[in-house]
Symmetry: C2
Subunit: 386 residues, 2 copies
């Protein structure tokens, strides 16, 4: 185990009484620095957050994150001790992601081990506490479990992972539950909704308050393997990945999950929702196989990678089905006013309007952020299975 | 969501067909750099690993990790493109942890999202593939599930988390299983055995090969909350934390787990093991309550934070119990020859010898590393419940 200086000191301290001579021989000879006691992030009384990093040799330190209105990275300022810091504007209590750039090198805050895992990169997560976060906090209510589940995919020819939330009481009971498939966005994996998405805590709190039915939530890995060295995906690649996901979802994920867990495998008890790329996947799957899901949610998304003409052709059967509206208990669409995919969203809604597909639509403040997606999840789940 | 450049490009590409004008308006104006296509780590044909980072402004880049014999960090060398790199010695195929220091700033490899989570810091993980890793690889065998479980601890007055491995077939079956409590080391949390420790895959492979009995494995969080600003723990603090863990384990973790899961709650079907701090906790709990566990494993550990005299007094009842050996089916101790806690280990064994406590002892190559702990787990589990 390569350990941090702190841990190393801790381990050495562990041995002090018993093996003082060994400890002395191994104690690193070093001069204390401001880094030894530095804390980052620190939330101040007025809900501003201070982000700090000890980097005496650096010439420029920036921080980006979803806490910044407008998204433009902030510059940190160095003091004479070599500590760079910045204080944010007052923040609405919530969980925010951020990433430091030290002389252009993407750097996880060395003082903050709380992170969000992506398929190609990490981000730090910070909590700004307050009453506004009650819906997503880890509270003293009965908790469900979140399981990491590996399965062998014949479609993809590899082991794949998904996360499954089972509600409080599942382990000891015999009840069969409704099932909600919840999809993440591009760049993330099946852990995203459980870490920065706080899906487990949001479900726990809704169920404890009697606002949501107990349900099983399945969070698959929606990021399809890409051929090496393809660079940025073009429209053809996007379409191939969309089809690949639909196959994986319909032939592997749904059958695997529905034969394993105590769920009610029928349209009345199935919901599907996703954010960004996951919203596009949700549109694709639910317009291709509308008979599978009575509840559909599209967060901050639209038809990506396909023109509206292509979509109109591909989904013609569902779009022109006069019973589509009658059979859909919920088709819920939400997006932030500042979202950079607003144009795709608008064009998608226009296509639905053209075919008189009914949906509930909400525009919130904010952009393409987890701040919004947690709120949308908290709004969507209470509408399911009622 | 603050996204990486790659993800941002990916999201933009997603919109290309549908919203070309928007995409163009938002496309970042930037000059390509070597970072765009850099890969790190890269394992070469001869099993040397190349670690690289693009840091054109840095004046010194180092890497430390458990792949380095002797532990002394390696220096990276900068090329004229601003890319720093180092090639390791040929490595035995395994999973290794490493951490970069860029001008003294602890830096997660921006090209490697695979990490190990600690309570105060992160480390990167790299895989060097080969036949030697078969025991710990994610293979096409039936997989158990690993669950994240939150419980409310009255002892600590807070929500605590543990990980639970349930074997293949648990979800659909009615069998009751033996239960194995597996403890991590200082600086880690309850996720460690499941990430860098690869406990789930090791169990899956042993069970699939018929080498181990199917069992439930409970991986608690053994890091006790410390009062703020105490600095390095002294011997008194160590003793308080040891007692606190014993309370948490005996009053909260065991009752919670054994009333929730389908396990066999008796000494014949209970095992306990831990590494480093977890080995010390294992010694403490199993010598305080020897009637609870027939199987005990101590990996790379010994009595820390207490003198041998103190230990001899505290555990006098067990040490002087003539039936201790008869009732213990396995007392297994393993450590690497180069481990920096060897002295504590030796003094602990001397105390056991003095009281004629029987144990199996193994000295392996290597030091205080996860490389050894995964091997020890793979050796220990097949000896349980037989």
């Amino acid at each position: 185990m390569k350990t941090s200086t702190t841990t190393r000191g801790f381990l050495l301290a562990l041995c002090t009484s018993l093996a003082a001579s060994l400890t002395m021989a191994q104690a690193p000879q070093r001069i204390p620095t401001p880094n030894d006691t530095l804390k980052s992030p620190k939330v101040l009384d007025d809900k501003r957050a201070m982000i700090q990093i000890y980097a005496p040799k650096a010439s420029e330190v920036m921080v980006g994150g979803d806490f910044i209105a407008g998204g433009k990275p902030l510059s940190l300022t160095k003091n004479d001790q070599g500590v760079w810091s910045v204080v944010t504007a007052p923040l609405k209590p919530d969980y925010y992601t951020y990433t430091l750039m030290v002389d252009g090198v993407r750097t996880m805050d060395p003082k903050n081990p709380t992170i969000k895992q992506g398929i190609s990169s990490l981000e730090n997560v910070m909590a700004v506490p307050g009453t506004e976060t009650a819906f997503e906090d880890n509270k003293a209510v009965p908790h469900g479990e979140v399981r990491e589940v590996w399965y062998q995919s014949n479609t993809l020819g590899m082991a794949r992972r998904l996360h499954v939330y089972t509600p409080p009481g599942y382990e000891k009971g015999n009840t069969k539950y409704p099932i909600f498939y919840l999809l993440h966005g591009a760049g993330d994996d099946d852990s995203g909704w459980n870490t920065v998405g706080r899906a487990g805590f949001i479900l726990d709190n809704l169920i404890a308050a009697g606002k949501a039915k107990p349900m099983v939530v399945v969070m698959p890995n929606g990021s399809m393997p890409m051929p090496p060295s393809t660079g940025m995906p073009d429209a053809n690649m996007m379409n191939r990945m969309r089809s690949l996901f639909a196959d994986e979802f319909l032939k592997e994920i749904m059958p695997t999950v529905e034969k394993t867990y105590r769920v009610l495998p029928n349209r009345e008890n199935r919901a599907l929702a996703g954010l960004s790329m996951g919203g596009f996947q949700t549109l694709d799957v639910s317009l291709t196989r509308p008979e599978l899901f009575d509840y559909v949610g599209v967060f901050s998304s639209g038809f990506f990678g396909a023109t509206i003409d292509e979509a109109e052709t591909k989904y013609a059967k569902a779009l022109n089905d006069p019973s589509f509206n009658k059979n859909k208990k919920l088709f819920w669409v939400s997006i932030g006013k500042d979202d950079f995919v607003m144009d795709a969203n608008k064009k998608t809604l226009a296509l639905l309007d053209k075919h008189q597909i009914k949906y509930q639509y909400q525009e919130t403040s904010g952009g393409h952020t987890w701040v919004n997606w947690r709120q949308y999840l908290n709004q969507y789940v209470p509408m399911l299975f009622k």
